[in-house]
Symmetry: D2
């Protein structure tokens, strides 16, 4: 019963098979191979527009270099106060973007509102050098709280950004999960609502290492091959990443994986909600569940073999955090979540008596 | 007949099998898994000392972050004028080390001499802030010219560096090839001669993505986990890298691969030397061959199906570069080089009449 | 009636005379001159301890390079949400410290509380690389809100920082004003309460360009000459800065200037408070006055010849900002504030009828 | 007899008077004052074109931020192997330009040739990310060797740079000295030959702190106010720099100073050349003299009260450096060099018998 994180899962058998096949023979290095070309075209098909696609090693790199692409001296990037780039990337976005500053903005359930973003932007006067200059807005879809921006939300946020000349980045470490929830096209969830550049994550959803930066604003991608190389993010055997994406996209494998993960999360969430003693902290809209429950339940579930993380209540939840005898916990599902484990977890939950 | 580069090869079947096995099940993320622990211990056994080992995504990252570990404001790193860090990493060593400067030094056949390094260091007065301060020396073993430093060379260079307080880095993108040539222990080729930190490359020698930074000077590794993370180089599914290294080390697989590559290179080099019209630019001591031959031979070999790169004569070879009707070329062998391809290349060479 | 800012004032006649005298003759460059030596000793006398002192060009540089001195990869510096380093230095602290991240913390009247700082620090686990690692705490004395930390406040904040290994920086752009208010010794307001490094500003208080970084923690100053030089902050004719500081310190000129500025502010503040329609936003404890008053009063005072800035209500003042018919304003006094201008301003204030 | 350096001199009496006058009254901060506006217009008049002008604190900052203006990820700046940016600025050009790399190129007497620059540029293929991409060429006028580029030299070098899309920077720390030698207009020595951005130094020629970055390519200046501010180089009391430049330009004061310095150098050089035992290392074309003479002469002149630096023979002078019993020395003249000191030095020289 492993619900620790979607990055604890291995790789899907289809992805593994593709990796094994790539072991054979020779391929041009540094992305000049045919797998890479094929995958790059595939991205453009999937997103129904011309894109420029760059593979990198990690989600941190995907986010940081996306922000580097929009960097200007004195630049500011607006983001959610609990976003991964603000809280969990050890300053990589600042470091790899050459010293750009993040401007964290609070928002309920891990999401920014266009009003809050607009109010912050109103404080910046382009003629005032002291405060720096906003250059970008970063959204996370699905969010760090496991919630989803509706298409209209994305459009409204992008509009706030664009009307002041900012670029819009989407952190899509769990892009497929969000897509599965909204059941819209990749194009609809991105550039059609104003997204300029996307961190497209495959690692959490079935690959072992497949992260891509996808530019919809092609001007932003100008010279980006140098941004990536000078950051040590250009794989020599880049074809191995391409091969993973080929397996990932083939026959909708990526969406199947995401649907499975989301459905597993939904089942768990319903069981938690109806169990009595526990409550959900955020709506469960993708593959992450944040709950508060009695400390005794934590012990009971661990004893039953469940693996999950205790979670710290973020600072934006005054009065909503766990009580003295409670824990806040996070459970994450993935392509690898076994239905039998979901069932066992639900059984264990039902057996608990405080 | 693919002699384009050792990073054109796929992965060995043993490494591929290990990757496939890792796809199953769950592992703690970010290197807290048992594969990672096992491999880290294995590094210490292989090097016969306590080490600290950090996986990164690319050789560029391994080199750049090794230099970041020794970085100081105003720091200078001495290196060969044709070293990979100086010529082929797009400024990543400077960028990822926070603006450290490289000081390129010429030397025959891709190697630095202790005298040349000492002469440069003599020019720096620690009390003179203007020139900056030398903090490190970087050696490449095997070198960019496919040559090998003898153990005494490494010791003499390290001594020059250490007596002024510099740290010594070894770029071991082709570490196994050098080891196979010298037929010494990993410890003898590194810390016993004064090397403080090593870029240990597995990618060119049978893995698809397995690069490690190995610290022998444990103080240098202090806080290095932050250096790696803020550079976007911490894999979430780090266990997949560990699994590759497990296969790589098991039963001496890595050395077998290197011996095979080197022997293939030796056979090719002998054929070139005895062929008449061609000459070797550098002694062939590992798995790279640099040769000058008539342009007609290039055309002949390409027509016969050989794949290799034309190479630019580096600026340190006045008078030794190719003549007007000649090409300078590079051939690289690897674990994946087929003996039949070596034989076919030799046949094609012998069939050539200028 | 110029109350726009203390950096609008010229230089005191004593400082001007010292500058003129320095024009004559020759002095060793880069701080090796006798004026520099004399001033450096003077700093140690004034602070009653051994110090290391480095002149830089601007307050932004003083702050940013102080933070660079405590920089570590993945480092976080805690500061007030409205501090100058967070709001008004265009990302220089991040850029010049090599990508360090600022962590803004709210607090009433421009001041941090030890509790708030402790609560933030409690969230950081040194073994968790993702969040980065707190390395420093920056306090501003006098604060951006024109308020003053009591000695006990500084001690409590420093203790919170030191017990987790953080260093403590004081932004003393208005150090003399704070000292004049507290009427304590420079040592008491700094290292005796735990301050490790100080941005010591002379520019706002009578000099034209005299900013120094004063290290009390001498280990922090190790190699700092390289930090300064590689940031383009080492004056060749550094003796001119030293000469300004000589005049500044002589016969307590600096304290006289600060006392004058503070007293002028106190008189203005009292007049504002008793005037009826206006209210003070923060206690006036140094040389800055933040007030909210009717828009009509703004127009009236401008018409009378007063120069001051409209000020934006900072985001930490929900419900306390100006109403629809009100302005928030800032007035700053300095060594150059004329008593007659204070009197004229008070007259104009009293003549106003809404 | 002080010939140590032109940055050992104080300030001219005209500049000192201007500084003293600026002490009075109030001026808007950060360059919004009328002195700054006047001087900025004056620059455009002097250079006979529209310019954008930014004051900074040091020559190192002027050079480094000029290069930052042309920075691109993976960018390379070509410069002379003995240039100040390469040898004497502690890595500031790399650090302040966000990690850009310098590419040092040898050349006789401190000067680059268009052929050498072209040969280096020929090695770079814009499609090859590994080597980085050349973005700029930096020339020093007068050079570090005290020599002068002819207008045709500058034009030829700029043409090599421009035809590959590089920008051209001129380090004019001794701009006035070069102008006095060539007796051409400022426009002729800069943009008319292709210079895009100039470090315009006043400090060595009569000011105490007056350095400006002058953009002729106005696109390069786009957003440069943020580059300067985030580097801690925006003076609050910027009007004091403007006041120095006003005095500097008025009635050709700057050119008078330079002519005086150059003539003093010429007299000294002639005396050295005709003295018998000494020889000049480089042609004396501005205000710096590099000579080799017997160690006995060094001692004799020091005893007579002369102050100058022993100089290290740069590495590009094989066989031309000082012999075992010889010293290489540097003498620098300035606006403050007294004719009586020149005469005394010549007397002392003539009195020397080996």
């Amino acid at each position: 019963m492993n619900f620790a994180s979607d990055n604890w899962a291995g790789a899907s058998s289809k992805v593994s098979a593709a990796l094994a096949a790539m072991g054979q023979g020779f391929s041009p290095a540094y992305g000049a191979d045919e797998h890479s070309n094929r995958v790059k075209n595939w991205f453009s098909e999937i997103f129904e527009c011309e894109t420029r696609v760059f593979f990198v090693a990690t989600g941190t790199a995907a986010n940081s270099l996306s922000l580097a692409a929009m960097a200007k001296p004195g630049g500011l990037v607006l983001c959610h106060a609990h976003s991964h780039i603000q809280m969990d990337e050890c300053g990589a976005p600042e470091f790899l973007s050459g010293g750009q500053k993040l401007l964290p903005i609070p928002g309920a359930h891990g999401k920014l509102s266009a009003d809050a973003v607009g109010a912050v932007l109103d404080r910046y006067d382009p003629a005032n050098v002291h405060g720096g200059r906003p250059v970008g807005l970063s959204l996370t879809q699905a969010s760090e709280a496991g919630t989803i921006y509706a298409l209209d939300d994305i459009r409204a946020l992008s509009a706030e950004a664009h009307k002041r000349g900012l670029k819009v980045h989407m952190d899509g470490a769990r892009f497929a999960n969000a897509l599965a929830t909204l059941n819209v096209s990749p194009a609809d969830m991105t550039w059609r609502q104003g997204v300029d550049v996307l961190s497209f994550g495959g690692t959490k959803n079935g690959c072992w290492c497949a992260e891509a930066i996808v530019f919809f604003d092609l001007d932003l991608a100008e010279g980006f091959e140098f941004v990536r190389k000078r950051s040590g993010q250009l794989f020599s055997k880049s074809a191995f990443v391409a091969a993973q994406f080929e397996a990932y996209f083939e026959h909708g494998h990526w969406l199947d994986n995401a649907v499975h993960a989301n459905q597993s999360a939904t089942r768990l969430a319903q069981a938690i909600e109806t169990s009595g003693g526990a409550r959900l902290v955020h709506p469960v809209e993708a593959n992450e569940i944040f709950a508060i429950w009695p400390k005794g339940l934590t012990a009971h579930l661990k004893a039953a073999g469940a693996n999950f993380y205790l979670w710290e209540a973020p600072d934006a939840l005054p009065g909503e955090g766990p009580g003295a005898d409670e824990d806040m916990v996070r459970l994450v599902t993935s392509f690898a979540t076994r239905p039998s484990d979901v069932a066992r977890f639900m059984d264990a939950l039902n057996q608990y008596r405080a």
